[in-house]
């Protein structure tokens, strides 16, 4: 094999390899449009939030129509969990974990409503409707004022009351030793 034919052979081999990302070459490469059609993850950086906007007032109307049956007209909960209230209750005997008292990021609210709600018809609300609903839930938790228009920047920048309320898992938190005899007596000492 002369040098030029060897070069062609190497080039062909390289092309073959790069046509498949991995060792098995199984599956196909999705197009950017296909990825975009499925990817609905919104992380706290908000980079994946779609364009759109909605007002608290619009959100109120959508909420009453689509959400109130399960979450209550005053967001107090029913078949579904309470969405407002409970601020200051987390360290009490009866903590109430809601969007206002517990959730660290408003992006989670957008992401969750979009992917899961309404329970019987998820992924049907428009982006504008979603922003409006996020606005209304935040308003009912006293986090944004009544006249707010919510868009991507608002969802990313709003400061949730319990933002700093979480820390990384630090278990194991029990350090028991295996006692074999007279164990209850030992406990009572």
């Amino acid at each position: 094999m002369d040098a030029s034919r060897l070069a062609v052979a190497i080039a062909c081999w390289t092309l073959t390899v790069t046509a498949h990302a991995g060792a098995y070459g199984i599956g196909t490469r999705p197009t950017d449009a296909q990825i975009a059609a499925w990817n609905i993850d919104v992380a706290p950086d908000g980079k994946a939030l779609p364009p759109g906007r909605g007002t608290v007032e619009q959100g109120h109307a959508i909420y009453d129509r689509q959400c109130a049956a399960c979450h209550g007209l005053d967001l107090q909960g029913g078949m579904g969990p309470a969405l407002a209230g409970g601020v200051g209750s987390l360290a009490s005997e009866k903590p109430l974990k809601t969007v206002g008292s517990y959730w660290p990021y408003a992006t989670t609210l957008f992401d969750y409503i979009r992917r899961t709600m309404p329970l019987a018809s998820p992924q049907t609300l428009s982006s504008d409707e979603l922003y409006a609903l996020v606005g209304y839930v935040l308003f009912r938790n006293g986090i944004v004022p009544a006249g707010t228009t919510v868009d991507a920047a608002q969802v990313v920048n709003v400061r949730m009351p319990n933002r700093e309320g979480f820390y990384l898992d630090d278990r194991p938190d029990t350090k028991e030793r295996p006692c074999d005899e007279h164990c209850l007596r030992a406990t009572k000492k």
Partner: protein
């Protein structure tokens, strides 16, 4: 004849439910006309040809129809709900597929496997779209692992009446699929990759962020459970199995793996599955299900029917690895004895244990305590409460006591 009698007597040595074995035949035998199947006549099923071969899919005996999953006590609707595995009726360490516990957030989707896709994208060299058939062409792996719901059970009463009600949100199977590491190597990871967001194709589009390190360690994308394709309620046609991590992360109906540099902070890793502590702050990313065990026989609702030799049986597991040892106490926790473990202990799998239990009508509180290969000791509920208070809800792996009354009736031993 002698051996038959010995066999019959032997079978009553095991703990039985009320009405089984000894009780009923005597009662009915006295009143009813001649029972053609009563011992020692040769019974009908021995004098007649049995049912034909080749029933398409075998079912349990109709006499076992009471052994079922049950909707968790107190649930009012079956869509965002959970059902328990009937631990008190099961033996050994493998859960039958039809009795594997369920937890669905928006019902069970009816997925056409020919149209299902798994998409891997994000911080990868080349995104990948796979059909179920594609995934079956990668090198396969079969491993035995438990899956346990994070809230199994909560820290607050009412305490469950049966082993299912106390800890029935745990089950164990042999899973077959492809190592997630193989798939991630196939797409090639970007140097910034740190997390993988897994998403289900159900109406909840269930989403959890999983550390990349775990994905490259022992995480599987499975298509089969105990040798057959996944059941719809267990994620058909594809499920993520994240061994030892809380059940919710074992994403069912898996359709998307999004490689990222940060967690999504999805609803299920913020509003839910975080552990509220007494100071009002909460633990996040508390993934591991710590070492735990429960006596399943005898357990709540069972009845000891005679005095003499019995056997305590149960299951133990740890999300940190292998169960190293299980101890049992029959005096309320004062004295502990080593139980015998089922041979071949698998890491992050239910491990059956057994211990002899002589009982002669004494009131007893029995319990088990598991220790895993890291040396971690299953704690008491009071030790957990001392560390976490009463409102952390998730990750309760407390020692479970059962009370045996002098008449042999078994109830929950929590006061």
């Amino acid at each position: 004849m002698l051996s038959r009698i010995a066999g019959a007597a032997g079978s009553t040595l095991v703990v039985g439910l009320v009405g089984e074995a000894a009780g009923e035949p005597t009662k009915t035998g006295a009143l009813a006309p001649a029972d053609p199947d009563a011992f020692p006549t040769v019974p009908t099923w021995t004098r007649q040809i049995g049912a034909p071969t080749g029933k398409g899919y075998g079912q349990p005996s109709p006499h076992e129809s009471a052994v079922t999953r049950r909707l968790y006590p107190g649930l009012t609707q079956p869509i965002t709900a959970y059902s328990t595995s009937p631990l008190q009726d099961l033996d050994g360490g493998i859960t039958p597929n039809g009795l594997f516990f369920e937890r669905h957030h928006a019902g069970v989707p009816a997925i056409d496997p020919g149209k299902h896709r798994l998409m891997i994208h994000g911080l990868v060299k080349e995104p990948l779209l796979l059909t179920v058939d594609d995934i079956r062409q990668f090198p396969s792996v079969s491993r035995i692992h438990f899956i346990e719901c994070a809230g199994n059970p909560s820290f607050l009463p009412p305490w469950g009446k049966t082993a299912a009600e106390v800890a029935g949100l745990v089950s164990c199977a042999e899973w077959t699929g492809v190592s997630l590491r193989t798939l991630l190597e196939e797409v090639g990871l970007h140097p910034d990759a740190k997390w993988v967001i897994a998403e289900g194709a159900d109406a909840a589009a269930m989403t959890r962020s999983i550390p990349l390190e775990k994905c490259l360690d022992d995480t599987l994308v499975v298509y089969s459970q105990n040798g057959e394709r996944l059941r719809p309620e267990q994620g058909y046609p594809l499920r993520l199995v994240v061994p030892g991590f809380e059940g919710n992360m074992n994403i069912k109906w898996l359709r998307r793996l999004h490689v990222t540099n940060a967690p999504a902070y999805s609803r299920e890793e913020t509003a839910k599955y975080t552990d509220l502590m007494p100071d009002g702050r909460a633990r996040k990313f508390s993934f591991v299900m710590e070492c735990k065990s429960i006596i399943t026989q005898p357990s709540g609702s069972h009845q000891l029917t005679r005095h003499g030799a019995h056997e305590i049986r149960g299951i133990a597991w740890s999300g940190m690895g292998k169960v190293e040892r299980v101890d049992v106490s029959v005096d309320g926790g004062a004295t502990w004895h080593k139980a015998e473990l089922q041979s071949t202990v698998h890491a992050k799998a239910l491990t059956a244990f057994r211990a002899p239990f002589p009982w002669n009508g004494e009131e007893r509180v029995i319990m088990s305590r598991a220790i895993d290969e890291t040396g971690y000791v299953q704690p008491t509920l009071s030790a957990l409460e001392a560390a976490r208070g009463k409102n952390s809800f998730y990750h309760n792996n407390a020692i479970q006591p059962w009370r045996i009354a002098s008449d042999g009736n078994v109830t929950n031993g929590r006061e």
